[in-house]
């Protein structure tokens, strides 16, 4: 999938990262990390709905929902002591928000590897974001089937 078919927000995020040097990519990831919204009130008391992303070293949980208009929203929570993981979650939460299910399912599995973060945070850590994306897509597929 090239930039013409990647959802606009994800494509923009990728361009933003790739336009920066390695050190500044870390700063941008930190900005994403700080922007990760709190869980919506209705999920805060329902830890059972949230799925742990075991590919990440830090405890991060995600939940994907499809709203009444048929659009996708991903919610995530991760501790402040895990800013890298929060950054990954924030990139995906922002990038997938408001897409149609088909658009989300079509996001390439290697999108996380295309952001130029391997050098900045190491390929092993980037795998955490791949796990998060894969789980989000699987959850979505389950919701659609259910």
């Amino acid at each position: 999938m090239d930039a013409t078919t990647l959802p606009a927000r994800l494509a923009e995020t990728r361009e933003d990262f790739l336009a920066l040097g390695v050190k500044d990519r870390l700063q941008l990831l930190l900005e994403f990390s700080n922007e990760l919204p709190e869980l919506p009130e209705r999920y805060r008391d329902h830890p059972d709905l949230l799925e742990r992303v075991v590919e990440c070293q830090s405890p991060v949980y995600i939940f994907v929902e499809v709203d009444d208009a048929g659009l996708v929203h991903m919610h995530a929570t991760a501790p402040a002591e895990a800013p890298t993981t929060r950054g990954f979650a924030s990139i995906l939460a922002q990038g997938l928000d408001g897409l149609t299910p088909d658009e989300v399912l079509a996001v390439p599995a290697d999108y996380p590897q295309s952001l130029g973060l391997g050098e900045a945070v190491s390929p092993l850590r980037v795998r955490g974001m791949s796990g998060m994306l894969a789980r989000a897509k699987r959850q979505l597929a389950e919701r659609l089937a259910g």
Binding site: L26, R52, Q57, S58, A82, A120, V121, S122, R125
Partner: protein
């Protein structure tokens, strides 16, 4: 030019008290010439969210490893790294980090491979510093690069390779992973990503002493007496023993290496950094599954 040692009574009980400093000692000496504070965390961005004023960051993933060979930096790469952090050969380095100084101990061990003489850990690490309400800042640290000499790594004293471990079988081994990894139920820590080992279990005869048992609730190291009870009485180590510690990729075991070497005074401790990701995948090396240590296989 070495900064004076921390005379705290708790530290004096350890074999090498000069390898640790207390938060109080460090707070009084921030900015002192000849001292560089290094933060080394599991999370590569944690430093950016707030660090001890004047501290520089060293990331274990992106800065201490060779990008191609599964190995540490070369002498030239290490010299460039330390020089860029404002660390000279005679600088006193104090390392601290998250998670009971897990990654801080790893950085210290790598510094030791290059013979950097005066490198110490902050007892209690990042968490204790924060818990005590001491200052953090997000201000970038202004570093004046210095010259660090090219010193080739000297692995043999404190680093073991797979062949060394095979030779060593019959002498004490400490497996510092979780009980589930030791028995072979899992190949990674509970709740950590799978890093690819074909088989689960442990090296024959290894004693299981999970690394974090050396840490007290506040993140500081347990007292000398408590550590002696764990490693001597329970695991059976005795003076003069040659010991090899291992985990999954050699980071948790560098923490145990620090405890055995600097706190308990064992002079012949090596860290097997190939650890389970190598041993659990290697052809024709013996393993043991279950909770028993197992026997040295016949050769």
């Amino acid at each position: 030019m070495s900064v004076e040692f921390d005379p705290a009574a708790k530290l004096a009980e350890y074999a090498h008290p000069e390898r640790l400093v207390t938060t109080e000692w460090l707070a009084e000496r921030l900015g002192q010439p000849g001292l560089v504070v290094v933060e080394s965390d599991e999370d590569v961005l944690l430093y950016e969210t707030g660090h001890i004023p004047g501290a520089v960051k060293v990331d274990w993933h992106t800065e201490l490893n060779d990008p191609v060979v599964r190995d540490y930096l070369t002498g030239e790469q290490f010299a460039a790294l330390l020089g860029s952090k404002g660390i000279a050969r005679d600088t006193t380095v104090v390392v601290y980090g998250d998670k009971n100084n897990w990654w801080a101990a790893y950085a210290l061990w790598v510094f030791t491979l290059f013979g950097h003489e005066d490198v110490r850990l902050l007892d209690g690490g990042r968490d204790l510093w924060i818990a005590e309400g001491r200052p953090l800042t997000t201000d970038p640290t202004e570093v004046t690069p210095v010259e660090y000499p090219v010193v080739e790594r000297e692995d043999s004293a404190i680093r073991a390779f797979k062949e060394d471990v095979l030779e060593h079988l019959g002498k004490p081994l400490i497996d510092v992973r979780s009980p589930e990894e030791y028995s072979g139920e899992r190949t990674t820590m509970p709740a950590y990503p799978e890093e690819g080992a074909l088989r689960g279990g442990h090296i024959p005869t290894a004693a299981s002493v999970p690394w974090a048992r050396a840490a007290a609730a506040d993140g500081t190291f347990k007292t000398r007496a408590e550590l002696d009870a764990i490693y001597r009485d329970e695991a059976g180590l005795a003076d003069g023993d040659e010991v090899i510690a291992y985990c999954r990729i050699g980071e948790r075991s560098s923490h145990t290496w620090f405890v055995l070497t600097h706190l308990l005074g064992f002079d012949h401790v090596r860290n097997y950094d190939g650890s389970w990701t190598e041993w659990g995948n290697a052809v024709r090396v013996p393993i043991v599954t279950g909770v028993e240590r197992g026997e040295v296989p016949g050769r």
